[in-house]
Subunit: 453 residues, 2 copies
């Protein structure tokens, strides 16, 4: 309460809250990690206000944890050590759209759907699609990626510049407007994925793309998951510029059909999207069909119109919801490893096996062009043993990924959940990360307890 | 001499040289920056030897400057403060080719042509092409890019992992084998482009691509440079996956025709390359021709066979040589800015104007899909005033680029030449870069005097 009063001296009182509901809403994300209440939630409107907050917090050694829409899956936005939850949703302005340079400048609280709605007027789109309508600041903070990353890259590939307020209140720009640069150190990609532990993003300059003349979605059904994985790999080998290639297991499609009232073929499938001109898409589709035939593709269905296409991706994004919907009262825990492509089929097979051994029910969906997949397993919140089993299952999947040179997190971030793997994955390099953290945040006030123990 | 004797205690004497010619060869690169002799040149063969060298150098506060083939253009490999020149050409093994994962693991002294020769056997290629047959270690150190970057990215986009020996001799891996990761801080992209100031690269894991079924090159001639720039931009707007799009001025083509015995149309041109399947390339070419017609394209010539194609890119890469060849006794100084696409035509026009005002002769070539261009101007080494005028010209080009949000170096690196612009370009962020340098290299032994004054 004293903290809130101190902050009200320099931030308008109506944007400094200790209301219990507000505190509770900022104590958790969409994960199973334990909630932790902030002492106060502040809703800044400008970079200068964040400068003032950071100076105050740094002088008084008060933890600051940035917060967007709370859609994180590894607890990165949970204010583990209390202090200030910095809610950035009031900073939700699209500051500039520059179609000639394929650039936009936004505040961190702008969500990706909000941005895409505006960009559509210019025939442009922002490519990174993690499913949730997350804030762009949050997406940059976790180096989010998703269904279109196979073609357009992850956040790190699409952030050109960040305005960052550092722990001591100084403001830097990490990059510029040029498409490439060999000047200075690459701070942009150091800050992307740093989960609020190195500074607060107050502006983002993002690369956008022209909306293709033709966008065609399709579903390809295969005899087995392994066939689908091999078929997807063949697209990359040949260099088909596929915009989306997602693995969806047959079982998941059953759930989806039930909930979404669709009638998709219920086999192990790839959900695909092609972007290009009329001619190039026709060519790509034809080549894809020929390649897929070699892997026993039994059915290939198109979604040509915008409605069918959006229903397809809604179904893909809702697959977890479908799982929950068909199992009322349960919740889903999600794994998130990424492995070299050559290990993807083995990893998925191993995951299925572990799921069976742990007597867990769930499905596997994957951004398989990147080697990234998620196993979503059902948990009954009334049975603590369920979560324990799911955590143990998750550990086995991560261990397998690390054993083949993969990563403990492909796109959800480290947060609280993947801290225990940082030493194993990064070895001696973890000390370098810690020393960078130490020099940029000597008082340890920026999102303490995340990434590092 | 005493230094060499000390090093010979732990490195085989035949790989520790104080021979005057060897020292001279390691005192310069291909730039106009003043040569500076190292005290000794060491040719390590293993990571362990580099660990030993760094431990010794760190204890005794001796500068260490890594050296590849010396093809740099900003003096990054010049041992400004003497000490050890670390020649990495003995570490030239391709350690692993992994076609399934599109990955290779190489030592830092492997050159890009050496790698591509080997990769060809697997139907693969490494995309980054700066023109010179540079070492991959050197290319990673400067975040090199080039003609194919518009489609396949710069070094930073294609390095998956680095093994780095730090100043104190500790060895880290910055990344892993997974195509994407949200784990820890992104050290790989911090080290790429750090020009040997943060550590010595001893192994690189690189992403490679499948060689396209069809590769077609073409030349498109336009009435003016501005038309060519606008036409190139239109390709990106529509999303044609062009693999190369290079601006070559008409005057340069005249030189090239003279030297290479070609008969290319001598107008302001785009040199293009299309990669894809037979069908997709046909479609892309057709669309390109239609787009280019809107910008007054007067001629469109194909190079379909491998010979014609390789001659075309040889001509492009040799354009500077052609300039020198037609002006015997002179040398070329090269600028290297990168600007937002919307400022490219203005920048090139301004560059032409400045070239005229400075009474300099030269040509402009550009990786124009990236907004990166080089003005090569002739200098007579017997007239010191020539270099001075060229330097002043270079300054004006950089100032213009910075004034429109661009970068002082698109791909050659900072080295010695672009240090003076670091504060102007990076502002407060330069202090963060310096503090990272300080924490990773407290004794300042890693390539001192580069990037920072």
């Amino acid at each position: 309460m004293i903290l809130a009063e101190s902050i009200k001296k320099f931030i308008s009182a109506d944007r400094v809250s200790t209301n219990e509901t507000v505190l509770t809403n900022h104590s958790k994300d969409e994960s199973f990690h334990s909630a932790s209440l902030p002492e106060v939630v502040v809703f800044p409107k400008t970079t200068q206000e964040i400068v003032d907050i950071m100076k105050f917090a740094n002088e008084n050694k008060i933890p600051v944890t940035p917060f967007g829409v709370g859609s994180g899956l590894e607890g990165a936005a949970i204010p583990k050590n209390g202090g200030i939850s910095l809610d950035l949703l009031e900073m939700n302005k699209i500051l500039e759209i520059n179609p000639e340079d394929f650039l936009v400048r936004v505040q961190p609280g702008v969500t990706r759907m909000q941005l895409n709605k505006e960009l559509g007027k210019y025939g442009l789109f922002f490519s990174v699609d993690p499913g949730a309508d997350a804030t762009l600041g949050g997406m940059a903070a976790t180096n989010a990626s998703g269904t279109t990353t196979v073609r357009y890259g992850a956040m790190k590939d699409n952030v050109r510049d960040l305005e960052v307020v550092l722990a001591d209140g100084k403001v830097i720009h990490t990059g510029g407007k040029a498409k490439k640069s060999s000047s200075g150190y690459n701070l942009t990609e150091l800050f992307v994925g740093s989960e609020g532990t190195l500074g607060i993003f107050t502006e983002l300059t993002l690369q956008v793309y022209g909306i293709s003349e033709v966008i065609t979605a399709a579903r390809a059904v295969f005899p087995t998951v392994n066939d689908a994985v091999q078929a997807a790999s063949s697209l990359l080998t040949v260099g088909v510029p596929i915009a989306r290639v997602e693995l969806v297991e047959g079982q998941t499609i059953k759930y989806v059909n039930h909930v979404m009232d669709t009638n998709y073929a219920e086999g192990d499938s790839l959900f695909l999207e092609f972007h290009g001109s009329k001619g190039s898409v026709e060519t790509d589709v034809q080549l894809t069909k020929e390649l897929f035939a070699d892997f026993g593709c039994v059915q290939f269905d198109f979604e040509i119109d915008a409605l069918g296409r959006s229903r397809l991706w809604e179904a893909r994004h809702n697959s977890l919801y479908a799982l929950i919907h068909t199992n009322p009262g349960k919740q889903v825990m999600n794994t998130d490893v990424c492995v070299p492509l050559s290990k993807l089929a083995d990893s998925i097979e191993y995951t299925r096996k572990c799921m069976g051994e742990a007597d867990l029910q769930g499905d596997i969906i994957g951004h398989i062009g990147d080697g990234n997949f998620h196993a979503g397993v059902l948990i009954d919140p009334n049975f603590p043993n369920d979560l324990e089993r799911a955590n143990h299952f998750n550990e086995k999947i991560v261990e397998f990924a690390l054993s083949c040179g993969g990563t403990c997190t492909g796109e959800h971030g480290v947060g609280l959940g993947k801290r225990k793997y940082q030493r194993q994955q990064h070895g001696e390099a973890l000390n370098i990360m810690k020393s960078i953290k130490q020099v940029l945040d000597p008082n340890g006030i920026l999102n303490p307890g995340k990434i590092f123990d």
